[in-house]
Assembly symmetry: C3
Amino acid sequence: MFLQNYWYVAAEAFEVSRQPVPRIILGEPVVLYRTEAGAPVALEDRCCHQRAPLHRGKLEGDNIRCGYHGLVFDQTGVCTEIPEQDHVPPQARVRAYPSAEKHGWVWVWMGDCALADESLIPDFHLNTDAEWTSFQGIIEMGGASQLMVDNLLDLSHLPFLHAANIGSATDTDPELNVEKGEDFVRVTRIARGIKSSKWQNDLGIQGNVTQEKMITFRPPCHIWIAIATAEEAGPKGNGQVMNQMILNSMTPVSATSCRYHWGFARDFNHGDAGVTKYMKDATDIAFNEDKEMIEAQQKNIDLDPAAPIFNLDGDEGGVAARRLMQRLNAEQA
Amino acid sequence: MFLQNYWYVAAEAFEVSRQPVPRIILGEPVVLYRTEAGAPVALEDRCCHQRAPLHRGKLEGDNIRCGYHGLVFDQTGVCTEIPEQDHVPPQARVRAYPSAEKHGWVWVWMGDCALADESLIPDFHLNTDAEWTSFQGIIEMGGASQLMVDNLLDLSHLPFLHAANIGSATDTDPELNVEKGEDFVRVTRIARGIKSSKWQNDLGIQGNVTQEKMITFRPPCHIWIAIATAEEAGPKGNGQVMNQMILNSMTPVSATSCRYHWGFARDFNHGDAGVTKYMKDATDIAFNEDKEMIEAQQKNIDLDPAAPIFNLDGDEGGVAARRLMQRLNAEQA
Amino acid sequence: MFLQNYWYVAAEAFEVSRQPVPRIILGEPVVLYRTEAGAPVALEDRCCHQRAPLHRGKLEGDNIRCGYHGLVFDQTGVCTEIPEQDHVPPQARVRAYPSAEKHGWVWVWMGDCALADESLIPDFHLNTDAEWTSFQGIIEMGGASQLMVDNLLDLSHLPFLHAANIGSATDTDPELNVEKGEDFVRVTRIARGIKSSKWQNDLGIQGNVTQEKMITFRPPCHIWIAIATAEEAGPKGNGQVMNQMILNSMTPVSATSCRYHWGFARDFNHGDAGVTKYMKDATDIAFNEDKEMIEAQQKNIDLDPAAPIFNLDGDEGGVAARRLMQRLNAEQA
């Protein structure tokens, strides 16, 4: 049901500490913590003995001791101590998920450990690039990860769902191009001479703008949205290009829920805390609009999972992403 | 599972406005709104594109624009605009349910549109008859519609469930008559010389009364209770007959829940606001007693759906109604 | 799924009164009340007529009248009155569960009435023995009864789950003995010279102690834990033995929840209210730690019921209890 041999975002870096925290990822219980040296550890959050969640236990050095009967597991998942018996059988172990901290996020590899290769971690470096100013957020969503993939690959929803903030009322006639790769789908939207949005106005942009958005999906649930905005005329000068990158990864919790990790990076007003606060607040509002819509969709889907959907021209990217996922699921099965 | 080719109450008239509202009827999502001219509209509350609920959208004239990607549907459910594409394919549409406002309620036809005939809307005109004084209410019930049909067809529960307000302690030996028609069941209960109830006492009726209650069930979920009450003696004079009509329609939401729309009309103390307030308060209390009991029954049914029931003489009407519904369900299937 | 021909604890004695109270036991709805003479009555909490719960009704002498249509049932479950009809058919009845009050608890027999024998009620007399001081408690647990059986048969969890109160940090190397009877499992744990626990310290015990714990499981869900504690040295004198008995009965509500009735009796500081209060508070804390762990286990089990468990040496008792239950279930089926 879920693609296993992939890196998934398990948490923002700050969430993982010396206090174990639980996550459900692809329906599996995972406990996250850091070694004394600071490396993230991801173990099955279910003691091999009686299925107690390990996140209720305590760290001892780099190991975790179950809070129920005191079994100790090292960061590879091997049981190193059973308090009441001398012999620790080799089969006493929990699953260890390869994990890594990169680009501000903690990643876990949910499939075959032998295939885990950190160089395969998707490139979300703009979360932490010193040349850009960025902020991040997390949203627990009561809707399938795929619904957010559809959402982000088809930005025709901006003038409607986000009319009051990030949408431009006239952004309804873009040039659309869809590129379908072996392991990615890329939608390019170019909107020329559209009205600037509320958000842009508040940041001092007046009049019309031209925006190029390049949206790249990579399995299983990662999306980059590169946005280049140029004012046609106005106080910021003709043709000045502002670049933004929205980083998105929607880790499935279950078939009908996900944990959405996002980042927002910009190359303008670098380090301006006031602009950052404004944009963070606006993003929180807009992404909450997405959350409400995705959860409302999911309720309709739950009511009748067989109800048809109808693909528009703008869904070419979403449809390609679904097909790519189907192909990869078939290959996995 | 549900009878489709029938009119169902979707809302009280005041609930339907220029602000779209959602309903679940027979398990289907429906959005209700009014045209600029005031006519009610009922559409599938699930955009044909991505299954977003239309009630989160906005009206434009008589049309509704989806709040997600901006598709516009007219009141017949036909998509008239897809913002990002010129061509609107004919299959782009949502289901339109025939609807009508009548007798203070907004009705929807859940089956084959070709069969929708407003003359088939059941006669609940006493909700709005100028010769009578009436008030209405709505109760969301966590129990099957059928449980309320059983409740209303067997008023032997009044002396017990409603002992403190509308029940008469001695109303336990009525003359009962059950008429079983092709498309209705009618139970007539005549109770002679019973003690007046708390409710009646508070309205100035003392001593004993004779009551005739005529309860008429019509599929799928409509019940009329005509009550004629005569004081045997007392300040209001011998033999004065007071008429009440309780109007009931229990629209299934799911197999285990319903939305109960009711009306209460009287031909006495016409227009007396104090009496109306007293009766409204008393009815709210009594109907909430019904709600609590129906929901408690439903919990027991959920615990063991196969637990038997035992029909009493007083259930002849309820049993006939169940058989009538079974026959109609079989005919539909 | 559940063993039927057994006595189960339905309530603490004080919970059963002239006000009917509902319970779900082995998935069945049961109403409990007392006769005028004070004897407990347990009836099916589902009227044979329309499945209304009888606990919403009222007592009339030793009988209960359904709050919906007024049917009356005596304490044997036989319907004695149907208000609107003269004839009461013999099949009009609800199930009566043999019940008894013993050892401070109200018991019900969930199986064949012909086999109900009060002498089979398990011996929990220390709840009410005048020579001992005791207190009781009730915990609703969102976890299977079996999880609590595992918990109590393997007290190796004390130094970990209850480290802050009743556990001794060095109680990890006991002498263990498991006796497997036809109808019981008994685990004896002797821990010599272990550190006294926080709890013992607060009660004036210092230094090391030797503890013998004898844990006896009897189907379907009863456990006695007899604890004999001797100080090695200290203000209470060498070799003074203090006896405690923890009485436990975990009545299944459903396959994944139970109602845990417990008692705690001691033969020391007899009648000392301060000691009783201290121990009651400490027990509440410790048993709530158990509740949180059992509910966390159950969530993991719900997530993947097929996830394996791994038995340790200390699970010999728990495994024997599971096998005994499996054998009895097979015999029942």
